[in-house]
């Protein structure tokens, strides 16, 4: 404990009952809750949009489909990057590749959140707000919730990079963050298709 040598590797042995570490199992339970949370938002959206007279309603700006499609690619790339990063980490936590791949994941995630923010400011300037219509309300509710999750995940990634640099990153923490980032990346195409392409 008092020695400052890096505590890399030496993961907590996975338990035979589940084959998962504590952090991974806990994260799995959390993701189940999150899935149901998004399922509820999506079903609320479907109920309201399917009974509306026109969807999207008149007089509301069109959503930035192309830029968001490009942004989706950035998000997917970051999902791919964390897959590679975790593999490299397991092979050699201290290697240059690991550091580069984790850093790239963080950067791509940050760019995704940044582009989202810029698009929101533009939409707001076009007069689309939470109270302008059901359309606006659901856009900010659903995409905003996703953005909050993305911001949370980016912060977790940033902490992961810090810990990696300090040499105190544990494999199961990395695994849990990876699972959460997969969730943020994986739920996005569903939301994109539902909200942007409707």
């Amino acid at each position: 404990m008092k020695t400052m040598e890096p505590a890399y590797g030496a993961p907590e042995a996975p338990r035979p009952a589940t084959g998962l570490s504590n952090s991974a199992l806990g994260m799995l339970a959390f993701i189940a809750t999150e899935l149901m949370f998004f399922a509820a938002l999506v079903s609320a959206y479907l109920v309201i949009s399917s009974t509306a007279e026109a969807w999207p309603p008149e007089g509301q700006p069109r959503l930035p489909i192309e830029i968001s499609a490009l942004n989706s690619l950035i998000l997917f790339a970051s999902g791919w990057m964390i897959f590679k990063a975790f593999r490299s980490f397991k092979a050699d936590p201290a290697s240059e590749t690991t550091r580069k791949e984790v850093g790239l994941t963080l950067w791509l995630g940050t760019v995704f959140v940044g582009i989202q923010g810029v698009e929101w400011i533009r939409l707001l300037s076009f007069g689309m707000t939470m109270t302008s219509s059901q359309y606006g309300a659901f856009f900010y509710l659903i995409i905003g919730t996703h953005a909050l999750h993305a911001i949370g995940a980016v912060l977790a990634l940033w902490r992961l990079v810090r810990k990696l640099d300090a040499g105190t990153l544990k494999e199961e923490s990395f695994h849990a963050v990876q699972m959460f980032w997969y969730f943020v990346v994986g739920i996005w195409p569903i939301l994109y298709v539902l909200v942007y392409l409707s």
Partner: protein, 575 residues
Amino acid sequence: MAEVAHAEVGHGDHHDDHHEQSFWSKYIFSTDHKIIGFQYMFTGMAMALIGGYFAYVFRMQLAFPGASIPFWGTLSPAAYNSLVTNHGTIMIFWVAMPVLIAAMGNFLIPLMIGCDDMVFPKVNRLSFQIFLLSAIVLIISFFVPGGGFGGAWTAYPPLSAKAEFNATPFGAPLWLIAVTLEIVAFLLGGINFITTTMNARAKGMKMYDIPIIVWMIVIASILFMCSVGPLVAGAVMLLFDQTMGTAFFDANAGGDPVLWQHLFWFFGHPEVYVVLLPAMGIVGEVTCTFARKKLFAYKLILYSSVGLGILSFFVWAHHQFISGVDPRATYLFTTTTLLISIPVAIIMFAYIATLYGGSIRFTTAMLFGLAFTGEFLLGGVTGIWLGSSGTDIYLHDTYFVLAHFHYTFVPIAIIATFAAIYYWFPKMFGRKMNETWGKIHFWGTIIPFNGIFIPLFILGAGGQHRRIYNYQNFPDLAGADMQDMRVFATVSLIIMLIFQLVFIVNFIVSLKRGEKAGKNPWKANTLEWITESPPPHGNFGATMPEVYRGPYEYSVEGREKDYWPQNEKPEPENR
């Protein structure tokens, strides 16, 4: 390097050194699962007093409309609404949940599965801190201008969405924030319960060696985690409707008020089973120990609980039969609702079969356990009429519904909780509670409980609508016979509340003066009874237990003792 390896084990390492801790870090900011369990238990008990006091005030108004109520004064219609709303909210979210799941789960899971603490002790501490914050927010909401939220605990819009309807501009958002915080607290707790039970069991404890209450708490946590998302989503949307002027639930602006009902009840119905399952687990433990018999059909009970959990996600719209749900859909939900009584009945029958041929000890805990089985059956059976869409059209929103769910919730949140407290009190505090006073408390609770709610069944069947401040304004409901029954129910409630003083005094006196319990006062098998009472920090001292058999090996033939602790090494075959 050995030190580093030791640190890798994580939180377990600090358990060995018994340095003196300050009161503050030992009881307030503790990460010990037992202390957190007590924190939840005592907070829940304090909230139960508030909820019971509210019930007393509005029952007094119903029995003696317009009269000045002792310890309150005259009750205004707005305050009546607020009291009814917050009575329901407190009893479910701040009493049943913290005491049954959080307190029992925290205290019992690590002890019963033989580990030193929860796997995420800091998350556990955070869970209680958020819970405490939620309780404080709720209590603050009673004192803001306009008073506490008065839109019923189900918070249906439009009543709940606009301050001009519910007249509680600050109470309503604070109520929503409090409920959401409470849910976040239990989310963190649930993650701990599931992960700890799956990953940290004692060596040798296989899936079917886990005590039934631990299974029930785990299944309840899974149910909670899979059902709570929609309520949080709905709560966020309702909060936006209240504070930012969105119109998610406003039919005038393209929203849909029934949508809230779906989101609420998608959580609300599994929630019933979230609190029912731990209560059933408690009763299972108590029944086995005091019948000195193996739990009848352990695996069937376990599978039934899982089936119950799955089915509970498909019954929610039986709360909405008169909300404009498609009549064809009501057939579907009637069917699933009637189906769900089967697994519940299986578990009940298994408990009754456990009693059959046992040598039953009528301790206070056992009496409460038996009372749970009997009273909950009444609650379950009356649910059949409410689950059938035909009869529900008449009975909806009457006192029949109210009496029905009190016949389920009181056995769950009050009777089973008392069974648990009388049963585990020796383990929690090292002394037994007084049995004579316990039995006086038992009869003083059970008889008035039936006295409260049997008249309400009759009133409900007679057409008495819920949520009415003064029945004297409705000639059909103001007859002398109906008023007599209201008075009878109110007097019964007061008697029941008075007898709770017996419990409180017994509890406090037994803490200091109770008979010393020793390690295993009930001669039970599960792992919590092999350690000291109260268990030390780290639970089992230097050597962690190993498990050789299931938790219910009572009265095994050919053994001298009628119990067989899970950790006892089997004797060699060739004796």
